[in-house]
Each structure stands twice: as C-alpha cells, then as structure tokens.
C-alpha cells in the first residue's frame, strides 16, 4: 500500500512539473516504431514505446532492451500560384515613400519585389549588394532523415513498478529549429513557405521516461514525461558601425535548464479479451527566450526580448481499446482502435503567436483523430496493419498567414519474429508506413492581406506614385498556394527480452 501511495504521489509531482519541455511531434507523427504499436500504440503492444504513448501499458510489458533504425522521408510539395502583379515598387528602396495622409515615411517593413527576385547591386541600391531571395527558392518541405530508436523496459520493486525509456535520436544533424514567419515578414529571410507541422519538427530529439504499475487485475496506471533542455540567451552587442557588422562586438550569455512535460495513462481490462485505454498528454513546447540589447557609440541603448516557441504539441486525450477476436487460438487476431482529441486551438507558432492573431476566422481548431488496426499472432510471429485519419487543424489560409498543413491519412504495417540466440530471447522486426498529405489549394483574399504600400503614397517630391495603387505585397503565399505530399517511413528493430 505504501508503494502504491508513493507511486500516486509521484504522479501528482509530475503533474506540477514545469511544462516547457522538448515536444515530441516525431512520436505523434511516426507512432510506435519499436514493436507492434503502430498508430495504435496508445492502446496496444506493451513495450518501450508505451513509455510515451500510454505508460500504463508498461505494466504488461516484457523486460526488454530495444534498438532500431527509423528512416522518415518528408516529401511535401508546395505549389505557389503565379503573381499577377502586386509588386512592391522599386521606389520603396529609396526609403522615402510617404504616407499620403500623414506624410510620415511608410514603415520599413517591405522591400522592392524586384530586389527580392533578382537582388540589387551597388549603384542601384543605396548600400552593399542585396542578395536575391527568389520566392520559394528556400523551401524546406523535402528531406529524408534517419533516427536511432532506443527502448528499455525494466521491472523493479518485485515487479510492482515497470520503468520505461523510449528515445528517437536523429542521426547526423541534431535538433534544428527554424523560426520562420508565416506572413509577409518572411520576405526578408527565406521568402518561402514551409510546412508548419513537419520540416524542422522532424529533427526533434524525442526522449521519454516513465513508469507503469498494475494496481489490480483489471486496472493499470502509469506516468511519464518527456525531457528536454530549455534555453535562455542574452545577446549584448556594441554596434560601432550599423552598416558593417564585422565590427560588431558581442557578449553572449546562455542559460540551459532541463524541463519536463508529464503524460498519464490508464488501462482497464474488464474481461481478458478486452482492454480499454486512456491517456492524457499535456501541452509540450520548447521555448527559447533571447534578450537582445544594443549599445551605440552615443551611449544610447535599446533592448528587447524575443520569445520563440518550437515543436508545439497541444494537450490531447486519447481513448481506445483492443479486442481479441479469437482468444486462445493458434492464429490470434485482435483489433485495436484509437480516438484522440487534440487541442490545436491552443497552438503557438514559432514566434509565439496564436494563429487567431491574424483574425478569428484563421484560428486553428481542435481535431479528433482516429486509427483502426488489426494484429495477428502466430507462435513467434507477430504482425500488424493500421490505418489512420487526421484532419488538419489549420483552416484555409485566405489571409496574411501561410500555415501550410494538410489533412492526412496513413497506413502502417510491421512484422516481427522471436527467436533464441546465445540462449537469449531476441525479437527482430521490420515496419513501414505511408501517410498521404491530401492535396489542398488555398486562394488569398486581397482584402485580408497587408497592402505594404498604401494607395496614394507620395515620393520624395510629394508626387503620387501610380504603382502604389491597389495591393502590393511580398507575402510569399500571395495570391495562393497548394500543398500535398507524403510522409514515408521504414524501420527495423531488434529486442533483447530478458
């Protein structure tokens, strides 16, 4: 009883833990890639992968050590509609266009479209040559990455507590974070659109620790957390020459702390052939806070703090079950199903903005995802086949924002085989998955865009600029864009059961 009380106290402590943790978008995308979990890992296939998906399942897991290799290929295609005009005039490069009403200079938040497409060399622009940033020349929707999968399950305290660890570690480049803007501000950087929920999110290092315990014959509970580093940096600069940053003096201070986000699970087995499961995953995100200060030779100081949010995964509730169709049969067949409520309306993008800041009609929505699959066991051979559907939480991007996402359907399959080697039990498996990003086109509504050069703008001679009439925007998503693609994956793994 004391053990049980201590375990429950531990769960409560987890619930009160800090939340700025490394998110696990990779776990959510790829599903269980060690063993037979697939897209139903929250309800079936107890093993190391259960540590993240539903730690209560750890209570039914063998003691095992797993290692595997996962390859994921993100093949997202972006097709941008051609620009029928709407160019920001080259006069903007003079930085002397005036607002027709206030005669104040228009803000510095735009560049001549021609400069973006073709660059600007000394002589035609005021400063050093400006490098071209052609539209969609720096997209990030295609990459193939490999990961090492590691899993460990160990029973302690006479088997009352089952500890689990599951990690997916990218091989090669470690975690990458790309804080692109989702509107016309991206013109100054990549001038391209990027998949919102894939791309750099696929490089996240996913690491989960947890424990499960069977409280009775019918009930098991578990808790786990994803672990990461949280970063805070202060960049102090002395700007001796604003047009020659080679002379910039920089004094950085970086602080790194660990952070966790807890997850909880429970299973209920009313009869031997049926197991019902529930899991709660709390919100996960990686927050980077950067304080920037600049000191000028005049003694003037300016400072700001920029907060970025990466790898956001909303809180979600997962319910499901697994049912043995023919219990005790030599060719055992089971079905598994999962439904998840995902609170994407809470989403924070890479600049910590909520999508509804672009307008209520552009707010993201909560979604319900579903998976259905079948498991087959015959002696040492196991196999599974899952299908899943996941509607996009992102509404049609008819305004300033360019969140690229698609409805997604997918299938996963896998097979493993248990054998004895060196007097030890081993299991070897292979799996694959294909997820289709269903084609989607979205056309912008000009009235919802930012007219970066107001109508009637005046030049330095206070003459109206004809090319300011109508909409001028360098929003790379204007006048519309389409996206589709595939997420493809394959994995192999080996487990030592001890």
């Amino acid at each position: 009883m004391k053990l049980r009380t201590a375990f429950l106290a531990g769960l409560a402590a987890l619930a009160l833990s800090p939340r700025d943790a490394l998110a696990s978008p990779l776990f959510e995308l790829a599903g269980g890639t060690l063993g037979q979990g697939g897209f139903n890992a929250s309800v079936t296939a107890p093993g190391a992968a259960s540590t993240y998906f539903n730690p209560a399942l750890l209570a039914d897991s063998d003691q095992e050590f797993d290692v595997g290799l996962l390859v994921l290929s993100d093949q997202t295609s972006l097709t941008l509609d051609g620009r029928p005009g709407g160019d920001v005039p080259t006069l903007v490069g003079d930085r002397t266009l005036l607002d027709p009403r206030t005669h104040a200079p228009i803000p510095n938040y735009t560049m001549p479209t021609q400069w973006l497409e073709h660059g600007c060399s000394t002589g035609s622009c005021a400063g050093s040559p400006f490098a071209a940033r052609p539209r969609q020349a720096a997209g990030t929707g295609q990459s193939t990455l490999s990961y090492t999968s590691i899993g460990l399950v160990s029973r302690v305290l006479d088997g009352f507590l089952v500890l689990g660890l599951h990690a997916l570690v990218p091989n090669g480049d470690f975690t990458q974070l790309h804080s692109f803007y989702n509107d016309e501000r991206e013109q100054f950087f990549s001038n391209s659109l990027h998949p919102e929920l894939y791309s750099d999110r696929l490089t996240a290092t996913s690491l989960a620790f947890g424990a499960g315990s069977r409280l009775s014959r019918h009930i098991a509970i578990g808790a786990s957390f994803t672990l990461s580093l949280s970063n805070a940096a202060a960049a102090s600069t002395y700007v001796s020459d604003p047009v020659d940053y080679k002379k910039l003096l920089l004094d950085n201070r970086v602080g790194v702390t660990t952070a966790v986000a807890p997850h909880f699970g429970a299973t209920y087995t009313p009869i031997d052939r049926l197991r019902l499961s529930a899991a709660l995953h709390t919100e996960q995100k990686l927050v980077l806070k950067t304080g920037i200060s600049a000191t000028l030779p005049s003694g003037t100081e300016s400072r700001t703090t920029i907060t970025e949010v990466h790898d956001f995964v909303p809180w979600m509730i997962i319910l499901g079950g697994a049912y043995d169709v023919n219990p005790g049969a030599a060719h055992l067949v089971s079905v598994a199903w999962t439904m998840a409520y995902e609170a994407w309306s809470e989403y924070l993008d890479r600049h910590g903005q909520r999508p509804d800041s672009y307008g209520a009609q552009l707010a993201w929505k909560d979604v319900i995802t579903g998976s259905l699959g079948v498991r087959y066991t015959h002696g040492p051979l196991r196999a599974f086949l899952d299908g899943s559907i996941r509607p996009s939480p992102v509404p049609l991007q008819v305004g300033r924002s360019n969140y690229v996402d698609n409805d997604r359907v997918g299938a996963a399959l896998g097979v493993d085989y248990e054998t004895r080697l060196f007097s030890r039990r081993f299991r070897f498996g292979i799996g694959g998955q294909a997820q289709r990003l269903i084609a989607r086109h979205q056309a912008k509504q000009d009235a919802l865009m930012v007219d970066e050069v107001p109508d009637g703008a005046l030049d330095r001679n206070l003459q109206p600029v004809a090319s300011a009439r109508g909409l001028q925007t360098n929003n790379p998503g204007w006048p519309g864009f389409a996206s589709d693609g595939w997420i493809l994956g394959t994995s192999i793994w080996a487990s030592l059961i001890y």
């Binding site: 390859v71 193939t144 394959t490």
Partner: protein, 388 residues
C-alpha cells in the same frame, strides 16, 4: 527547384528500401498568363505602360523603365524621346540632354537650377550623411559682379544613417525663407564671376549666406552677413526643456510648416523613423577650386562649397519609445569631404525650352506654381548619396 535534402548515407537508404526511392517531391511556382496592356507587369513582361520606351511590353533599346514610367537613357548617344541632344558634353548639352547656350564670356546672367551637396557625420556612429539643398535662381551680372534677382529655396533631402525629407508644409515654409533676392532684410546675395588670371576659364565666388529655419529670422540671423560671424557667436538657438515632450511655447521658436509643433518638421526614415522638429542655422559660401576653372560657355558646372551649421532639436515624435532618444542625434560637418554645388544653366527667359521645362511660372507669382518648379528642379538634379 528545391531538391530533396538527404541527410542519411545513401547505402543505408537503399538497404531500407523504398524510402529512398520517393525523393521526388519539389516546390514550384505556377506560370501566370501575361496580358500586355493591362498596366500590370507580369510573367515575362519587362514593362506595361503606354510609352515609346515600352514596345510590346518590352523595354525599347535606349530606354529605361521603372515602376510606372519609361525615360530615354541620357548618355547613350541616341537622341530620342524628349531629348534635345545626347550625349551630354558639359557645355552645349547638359546632363538632362537639353541644349543650352550661355552668354559668351564669364557672365552668369540667366536662370539656373542649382543643387548644393554637403556632407556631415552623424553623432551616433560617425557615418557620412549626404544632404542636398536645391535652389532655383535668376542671376544678373554686371561687370564682374552678379546678384540674385529671383530665388526659390527648393527643399532639403538627407540620406545616410537616417534619411530626412520634408513634407508639403515644410517645402512651402522654406520656399521664400532667408530670401537671397534682396526682398528681405538682407541681400541681395552677390558674387563674382570673372576670367581667371591665366585666361583659361572663369572663377566663381558666391558670397556667404546665412540661413535659419524654425526660428525667428531677425533674432537669430547676424545683422551683417559680410562680417562673417561664427555661428557660435550668435544668440544661441532655442532649446526645449525636454524634447521628448513637445512644448507649446519656446522663446524664439516658430512653427513655419504649421504642423502644430514648434520647429521645422523633418521626417526621418530608413534606419530610424520618426518626426524631428528642429531649429537650424547655417551658412554656406561657394567658390571654384583654383585648379578647376569653369569653361566660359559651360552649360553645367560644379563649384565647391563650405558650410557650418547648428541644430537644436525642439521635439521628437512619431517614434518608437525605445528609439526616440536616437532621433535627438544630429551631425557635424565632414570637413574631409568637400561639398559641391552644381549649377545648371537653363536659359535667358521663361520661354526658353529648358527654363519652361522647369519653371511653372515666374518665381514669386504663385506658391503652388513655385512648389511645382521646385519639384521639377529636384527631379532634374536628383539627390546623389555619398558612395565610399
């Protein structure tokens, strides 16, 4: 096109099967059907405007098109469009490809468009600031002496660490300020234009002239320009208690542009943005360099200028609070970079083609017409930022 980025050893991918075989997705941009004549530059169009410089939506040889307009390239040796000559030769053909014919000998009589370019350094990061001041003059010369008969002050533009421009109110306020034509408290401004000792041209000397902006002229201008007093010896420019809080009244300060803020409103853009209302005082004098005489029949020539200036920032507004204090920074003359004044002869009478192309009417007859004349002067002699 953006190609698949492979971060995994290819052999491994092959071993793992089909994941390596599907790296075929790519980004693309759909072509746009261009409609020549719709006024919108799309697709392969280079221009889309009604002009002989834009033929079938492609730039005609010898022309250049930007945004809304096409103009012939002055200097390519082809006389076309509105050009009267090409290329400019510094004497009979000026830099706008207009024919000019000055009176024979060292005689400045006639209408001139003038751009004075001075250099200063800001007090923040010591960067060079280029300021252009434009004027429209009618000179008359008798003997070796010439004087200003008519003058318009056509505005200021500054580029560098920050860009400075005036609004309509500011341009109108400067138009007849610090009169050089003798209709004010001083002047007319005079100078000499005489043959050099060696007889290889003419040399120019344009008297020192003092100017103030945003303050009361009688109080802050010297009584005797010819005495060449230092600016520091004159009554100090008015200073506000706190320029971050615009004051309703500062002794000596005026609101020449009528924007409700004391001082002349300078609109700052570029690296810093905001409105700086200032009181200014400066002087300048112009002369030819000893080794650079002016050709007797030159339609366009350049002289050197020296200047000194003072500025008091009366208020800064329309700025981000964090950077408002940066707008208080001013500049000091860059003594190592000589200023220059470009004179462009236009003609003897208002009906001469080059004068008529600039002057909307006789100077002083109509404010709106004179503002238009000034705009034409600025367009004909564009600001040239300092290039290292």
């Amino acid at each position: 096109m953006h190609q698949a980025h492979i971060r995994t050893p290819p052999r491994l991918l092959l071993a793992l099967g089909w994941a390596s075989a599907i790296g075929c997705a790519h980004d693309r941009i759909l072509p746009v059907t261009s409609v020549c004549g719709d006024g919108v530059v799309t697709g392969s169009e280079e221009c889309d405007t009604t002009s002989p410089g834009c033929t079938s939506c492609h730039v005609t040889d010898g022309w250049q098109c930007t945004d809304d307009t096409c103009t012939p390239i002055c200097g390519d040796g082809k006389v076309q469009g509105g050009e009267q000559c090409d290329p400019p030769d510094g004497t009979s053909c000026n830099e706008s490809c207009e024919l000019v014919s000055r009176p024979v000998g060292c005689n400045l009589t006639g209408y001139f468009a003038v751009k004075q370019t001075n250099y200063s350094r800001d007090t923040i990061v010591n960067q060079v600031q280029t300021s252009s001041n434009w004027y429209f003059y009618r000179f008359s010369q008798s003997g070796s002496t010439f004087q200003v008969d008519q003058a318009l002050t056509c505005g200021i533009h500054v580029t560098g660490t920050v860009d400075v421009s005036l609004d309509d109110g500011g341009l109108a306020a400067l138009l007849y300020a610090n009169r050089q034509d003798g209709k004010g408290a001083h002047g007319p401004r005079r100078g000499t234009f005489v043959p050099t000792a060696s007889g290889n041209g003419c040399e120019l000397s344009f008297d020192r002239w003092y100017m103030v902006r945003g303050v009361d002229e009688p109080t802050f201008l010297p009584a005797d320009f010819a005495a060449h007093p230092d600016l520091a010896s004159l009554p100090p420019l008015p200073k506000p208690v706190d320029p971050l809080t615009p004051a309703a009244s500062i002794p000596g300060a005026t609101d020449p542009d009528g924007d409700g803020l004391l001082g002349l409103a300078l609109h700052l853009s570029g690296n810093l943005q905001g409105l700086r209302s200032v009181a200014q005082r400066d002087w300048n004098e112009v002369s030819t360099a000893p080794d650079a005489p002016i050709a007797e029949n030159a339609g366009e020539f350049t002289a050197t200028s020296v200047f000194d200036s003072q500025e008091s920032v009366l208020s800064v507004t329309q700025c981000q609070p964090a950077i408002c204090s940066l707008l208080l920074a001013g500049g000091v003359p860059a003594r190592d970079i000589p200023g220059r004044v470009k004179f462009r002869y236009l003609g003897q009478s208002l009906s001469d083609p080059a004068v008529a192309a600039i002057a909307a009417s006789a100077p002083g007859d109509d404010v709106n017409a004179d503002l238009q004349t000034c705009k034409n002067v600025r367009a004909a002699m564009p600001h040239e930022p300092y290039m290292q």
